[in-house]
Symmetry: D2
Subunit: 344 residues, 4 copies
């Protein structure tokens, strides 16, 4: 089975190359880049020297070998939508890692991204690629919208309770802490080493574009409309997202109820680890892996449940999840190519 990556030089793209390179069932046959076409891949990402022999191609669809059956689109937001329709017309399966097919309501793209969606008819066809809630729909899917990094961490923390209908939505606060690779590979002043080492900040309070994505999925799971506050923070580390979710349960809830709901919901989910009671997630324990670690505490004094999730933003938050989706789409074992233990 041959696959391709459009936009292979960003962090998401290079992480896809890393994971697909060691996947036993697929062959990476084509990688493209607008800016680095013609260059051996290792020139851009020297870690792959002598491991990956491919050269980068221009992003011209006619150059993709016919034998390629599935394509990962790791293009910037707003660029995927220009390309994906043609790929689908050509009979390819597509996993899109941008935001372009994640939202069902085209109006949300105008509100949160500032542009009009050019292929709104595809929004209904796209399957939201969070396997833990959409495993069945992903089998054989043609177009998969790979979730955002923040939504992955937030949704896995909330999905079991949302699906059970026990969340007091007005109480929900999501405070996320991300490593700097989440900002992408383009050098910008805010991510210049001396500007973000040894510092923490909040940003885009109340208007981060991942908010409607989180709300949409939680609304679908709970069967209602969800409006919540999501606040991202930048932390001086390369990889990882820790999401701290504060909420009250309807009727107050009990620790036993929470443990039961999480246990049942993630039964058989190979990458979600419900930590033993004495532990809490730390991003270092999932680094380089597709795991999402989950832990929680009841704060009896304030009546709140505090849930913490940890992911590697480039793996479970992007490329690893895309490979997990590919496995489900193509009928491979869900864990295929993703069995690496986290790298301490």
């Amino acid at each position: 089975m041959k696959v391709a990556i459009l936009g292979a030089t960003g962090y998401t793209g290079s992480e896809l190359v890393r994971l697909l390179h060691q996947h036993p069932g697929v062959e990476l046959a084509f990688i493209s880049s607008r800016g680095d076409a013609g260059s051996p891949y290792y020139r851009v990402h020297p870690q792959f020297y002598q491991a990956v022999g491919l050269a980068l191609q221009p992003p011209a669809l006619e150059l993709i070998p016919d034998a390629v059956e599935l394509i990962f689109c790791a293009l910037p937001h707003g660029r995927s939508v220009e390309v994906v329709p043609a790929l689908l017309d050509a009979g390819k399966q597509v996993i899109d890692l941008s935001a372009d097919f994640r939202l069902r309501d085209p109006g949300l793209y105008e509100d949160w991204y500032g542009w009009t969606h050019a292929a709104p008819e595809l929004l209904e066809r796209a399957v939201y690629g969070l396997p833990e809630i959409n495993r069945e729909a992903l089998s054989g899917a043609v177009l998969v919208a790979n979730p955002g990094c923040f939504p992955t961490g937030a949704l896995l923390a909330l999905a079991p309770l949302a699906a059970a209908g026990v969340v007091d939505w007005a109480s929900v606060v999501i405070d996320a802490k991300t490593g700097v690779s989440g900002a992408g590979r383009t050098a910008r002043p805010a991510f210049h080493f001396p500007e973000c080492a040894e510092s923490v900040k909040a940003y885009r309070i109340g208007d981060h574009q991942h908010t409607p994505e989180i709300e949409q999925i939680l609304g679908e799971l709970s069967g209602g409309t969800v409006t919540l506050n999501f606040t991202p923070h930048l932390v001086p580390m390369i990889r990882g997202i820790l999401s701290t979710v504060y909420l009250r349960l309807q009727g107050g809830g009990t620790p036993e109820q929470v443990a039961r709901l999480f246990g049942e919901f993630y039964e058989g989910a190979p990458f979600v680890r419900l930590l033993p009671a004495e532990q809490l997630p730390e991003t270092r324990y999932v680094r380089g892996s597709n795991c999402c670690d989950l832990g929680w505490r009841f704060d009896r004094r304030s009546g709140r449940l505090v849930i913490v999730s940890a992911i590697d933003n480039l793996v479970k938050g992007a490329a690893g999840q895309a490979v997990q989706n590919m496995n489900l789409m193509l009928g491979y074992s869900e864990e295929s190519g993703l069995t690496q233990v986290p790298l301490f």
Copy 2:
């Protein structure tokens, strides 16, 4: 005016030495250490080589020169209470940087610290050393309880709204992110470089000992009982605390109301900086200084106010605040010795 430091080798102690060394009105005449007595100070803290010539003395009160009028206690929690009564009896003014005199209710020491307070009669006499709310009481005070690092950041974010009585207390969530120096100078596995670099975690969810301190002061300001959730996180940097505070205002509130309340409350406070509307606090912008930067956003969708504060945990969160308190106790300018611009 001569002053002394008991417990001068920890991070709080060394920061006191740094600030007092450049204070124009006082002379540091005595420093003590249980473990390093007899050693020149620069042996323990080489940054002071050729700047500070003092040697560490044993922590025996009879060794303190008579001319010393004010003493900083930077001893571990639970050890100050053994020493402070004798210092007061000897006629010294005391600024205690431990938690031992911060709580008014002796029972809270049993609940949160696990020991019975040996001098409960002093709890009423101690002035809580947050100058922005207690400036008058600090003038001439004899025993000052210097606030905890987390309470300083959280209280400065909430005090104006608490004092105005406009907070819906059931809605308040405080999510704090601290650098590793907050854990002190003792090497422990959790703070071993390879264990905390490149990672973020939450800890002590719902049971951190700074919670009752925050609640006590907010209760006093608002004239009621406050119970809230405070969750600290460890971030891979040396200095800094960023506190993100989520709340709803009674009646909803308006941005103008918030701006007015903050402006009035911090009128004349030299170290609180209300940032221009387009900026949000980042810990790097207060590093090494006694500043507390404050910013906020109304999240109209969720009806929440999100307030962010940034401090250097060792300065405004400990030693700098202690010097600020000393200035007020002794009648110096509040800014004396604390005018350094943050070190980028």
Copy 3:
């Protein structure tokens, strides 16, 4: 094929667990720890939760299952020598990751480590486990002394030139920069996060215990006595060693000669990557992998050759090299279990 690890809780031990867990030809059947015996392994190293089900055993040799044929000793220096003779007597193959069998001359243990070697007769039998120079001797070896992390980086930079007899040994300076994990997992003041983040230092100038190990092997390769200066530096990162080696070639040398000698020497060495001329090694490009990247520049003005090598100190500098040695000892492919691409 069953294998065991004595001393599985340190960084070298946990890295062995990670690599052996994904090795297709061996089963990790026994892990021991003096301090954590009885605990599930994931309690000590939570990254292995749900991946590694083993519990830690006491370090009693009689507890090792008979079916175990090869044992990794990852015990502290000086403790291996107490254990290895009995393991050999029991017919096990041993890869020792301490320094206890690396030096041929027992007197060097007294000079550099400060203790008298208890089993000097084994020093002759031990094969120095740097596969790039000892590949044949490792096949079927019974006792392998796994090289130190610094010697690995330094020797791979110098071996081709030493073997060719072209080095002016009086000119050689080795300046190495290591991440903090090289200091081990025990929390100590010098490796407390606030003490080593944001700083660089040199240490043990002229008396680091890896010096005689480097000199011994270079002496064997060059057929003479080698005395050189090796200076390690501590750098604020978790993993990685960059070694910068300065030397003059006898007769001056040429770039072409150097390229030819390196190319020939590392012909067929799967983990040594001779970088393209326009690149130089960076530790991030080998992170998590068994690669050693090599690059060099002729400084014509000073007549020096400057060689740079980069390794992951825990992989090629310790556990990965041990697995590579195991592969050779047992007749597996040299790359078996070690094909992970570096993790950016």
Copy 4:
């Protein structure tokens, strides 16, 4: 006394603002920026909010107030030479922080910087602003060339031995490790946080432009021609340069001789700290200060002397040294405005 800064928004410029703001004898009356003219300074550097009220002006010389007597040029290399002649013609004293007036031989600008010097006649007039070797010439100087960051660390390590004529120059190797702020404030891919955190690399081996500057001054001190190897390395920290200098002394030398030469040479130098024998420099101990810490070890086995120096590249390596030069030029105490203890 009024002073001005041309190019105030880079790291060197903002460090000048920080130091001049707290200097008791001068008033910063004018700051310019090509890109940010018109903006309040705190918009670009928020740490100065409410401390520095100046706004940035366009870099037009006619805008500089007449009362300004001394001007710091913190412009990029190659731009200072276009401006300085006019400043001198206008009767201003100038401290230039670029490389444009550091080299005496105009030909070196063509060789190492790639451009022809437009004002070669000024190269003779410029005083090299390393006060420890040029204190007298700096008194009343009109044009001072402030040294580069690497040359400062390297020269202070070597100057006493060079001046004594005891160095075997063919043996000298300088291996320097710098924090990322040395690369300036412009965001570029190599200094993007995820690209340089958790990694070390060497760069510009044998062709770094600071090499001729080091060689020129050492040649002047020793009365001969010096050619040596200087190799910089990038380390994941914000501030600091550690220079490790390897050399042999003519005739071998003794520790006592070295101690005596250093002691005599730096007699009365307020910012050079010769560390006690049991300590070695670490960059954290000079952070934020104008100190240069020096330590050394004789490696008797290899016959080498290894000298280590530590500076803060933005202070003693740039802005602090410029203020020190200003103090000497204007007749202030050499330490004026520079007495801050290092910030741990």
